[in-house]
């Protein structure tokens, strides 16, 4: 019986789940190949059995095992991309590799191949109030994040990343501890390596990011004025385009659905504003308009 059809009990870290590939149905003309790709909570480890080395997928967290069949598409579409974002980034490269190999095989013989992404996730783990899948979601390339503008200059806007869209955050708020419950005072790597005064300023520290002027919108990039796109305090929906350097992620809002989602009028002194088009927001009780790079709300 194929591994993906089996019924698994609760997996614990170190439990062997399945090989990296196995042979499926066989007829006279073709041999089906089933490939397993590690997703969240699963890793590809080398084991030595009786002097022989073999690779196997191993669970790395406690939870239920899931097999997700990957539908193969020759041209990646928008849908495909968002699916990738949703489940895994790390194994993306392997996936692509798998696809390529698969394509080659397709051309050569008619060997059908199935690809399954194997994940282990615990639905009850996330601090026990959230029902969505919890994994330690750190921002990575392609993730959509919600961020708050902390300062602006003519070249860029600095932001702090508050949350990943559609992902829960750890109890101690690895991504942005501002406003996400109780934090650990004095804890953390900063506290261990730095003097108290420095660490104190970093309490509630978050992952930081930069939206540079050329990444604000997709068209007319040279004429972007940060002042007319963001103001400090705005909440922005942005996409991570690179892990950046030691301190900042690089973010982009160059898409219709990305940009300012919440903003207050008069630099934070007034009330909430609403977008009336992609570059204007209006404060309903005063009627004043301010310019922003807005996200398409629906």
């Amino acid at each position: 019986m194929a591994f993906h059809a089996k019924n698994y009990p609760v997996a614990y870290p170190g439990q062997l789940l399945c090989p990296t590939f196995e042979l499926g149905e066989k007829t006279e003309t073709f041999q089906e190949i089933i490939r397993y790709v590690p997703g969240n909570g699963v890793t590809d480890e080398e084991y030595e059995v009786n002097g022989q080395k073999m690779r196997a997928l191993t669970a790395t967290v406690l939870g239920e095992v899931r097999f997700l069949e990957q539908v193969l598409q020759t041209v990646p579409t928008d849908e495909d991309q968002s699916k990738d974002e949703k489940d895994i980034g790390a194994s993306k490269a392997e996936l692509e590799q798998g696809k390529e190999e698969q394509e080659e095989e397709d051309k050569g013989e008619d060997n059908p191949e199935k690809v399954f992404i194997v994940t282990v996730a615990d639905s009850n783990l996330a601090g026990k109030h959230v029902t969505e899948d919890f994994a330690n979601n750190l921002p990575r390339e392609g993730s959509i994040v919600l961020a708050r503008i902390t300062r602006i200059s003519s070249q860029r806007a600095n932001v702090e990343i508050l949350a990943l869209e559609n992902k829960t955050i750890p109890v101690d708020s690895g991504v942005g501890s501002n406003g996400a419950g109780v934090t650990a005072p004095g804890g953390g790597s900063a506290a261990a390596t730095l003097s108290v005064s420095q660490a104190a300023a970093d309490l509630g520290e978050t992952f930081k990011g930069i939206i540079s002027a050329r990444d604000v919108r997709a068209t007319d990039r040279d004429r972007v004025k940060i002042m007319e796109s963001f103001r400090p305090g705005d909440i922005v929906r942005a996409q991570v385009i690179s892990l950046g350097d030691g301190s900042n992620y690089h973010l982009s809002t160059a898409r219709n659905d990305l940009g300012v989602v919440f903003a207050r009028a008069f630099n934070g002194a007034g009330g909430l504003m609403y977008a009336i088009d992609w570059q204007t927001m209006v404060a309903p009780n005063t009627g004043f308009m301010e310019s922003r790079k807005c996200a398409k709300p629906f």
């Binding site: 870290p13 170190g14 005064s197 420095q198």
Partner: protein, 248 residues
């Protein structure tokens, strides 16, 4: 950062009082309930495990281990894990792990020796945590030794280290941080060995006495430690799985 003052917050007037909301009582009860659920005593009476009792950290574990040599002696250890959270400085494609050890009641262990334990444990878990998954971040492990052996000066470093390894693994599982295996340690006399992959790989070895130190005897020690490791690992996995099923 040159300027250490926090410019992100508008602090308001000096006499301002922060707005405090009553915490609704529902989640509190829920917590107690879940804590109760997790305090399942394990089949092996030598170890008592509890998970998730520190609420503001990402994962935690509490261990009570009865000494194998003296029934009255007991090691109580609380482990809490914070992170992954942003690290500073140069870009790092992997997470950085740090382990801090502290005796919260009687301080019996010399400061230098505590540092040795910390670097030893960091080395063990560097090989175990799937650090690639967490770029640009730091994971912090805090160990609080609540009690070890009796007496003013006396402590068993071996049982403490064994408890530390097991406690950290359980806390990582509780935090949902990816680890390559349910790593556990076993001890024999004054030797501790931490294993992974069902005892085929050693991730940590600690020997503090001169006995049986020749190359043939080492393997014997490792084998003896492995026996203890296998029972420890079994207890831990049983606990995890039972706990998981109970919470479903």
């Amino acid at each position: 950062m040159l300027n250490t003052t926090d410019r992100r917050r508008i602090l308001g007037p000096a006499n301002a009082k922060p707005l405090v909301f009553d915490r609704s009582s529902v989640p509190v009860e829920e917590n107690q309930e879940s804590a109760k659920k997790s305090s399942v005593s394990t089949g092996n009476d030598a170890i008592y495990i509890e998970n998730g009792i520190v609420v503001n950290c990402n994962g935690s574990s509490y261990l009570e281990v009865r000494s194998r040599t003296n029934d009255k002696n007991c090691t109580l250890l609380l482990t809490s894990i914070y992170g992954p959270r942003p690290s500073r400085g140069a870009f790092n494609a992997k997470a950085t792990l740090s382990v801090q050890f502290k005796e919260v009641t009687l301080e019996k262990i010399a400061a230098g020796q505590i540092k040795e334990i910390c670097t030893f444990l960091t080395n063990v878990f560097n090989a175990v945590v799937n650090l690639e998954r967490y770029p640009k971040s730091g994971i912090d492990v805090f160990l609080s030794l609540i009690h070890s052996s009796s007496g003013q000066q006396d402590f068993e470093l071996e049982s403490i280290i064994t408890a530390c390894v097991n406690g950290i693994t359980l806390a990582f599982v509780d935090a949902g941080i990816e680890i390559l295996d349910t790593v556990s340690a076993g001890m024999y006399k004054r030797n501790v060995t931490a294993f992974m992959k069902n005892g085929t790989e050693v991730v940590g070895f600690w020997k503090d006495d001169d006995e049986q130190s020749s190359s043939e005897n080492i393997l014997e020690i490792v084998e003896k430690c492995k026996e203890h490791y296998l029972t420890n690992r079994k207890t831990m996995i049983e606990f995890m799985v039972r706990n998981k099923n109970a919470s479903d």
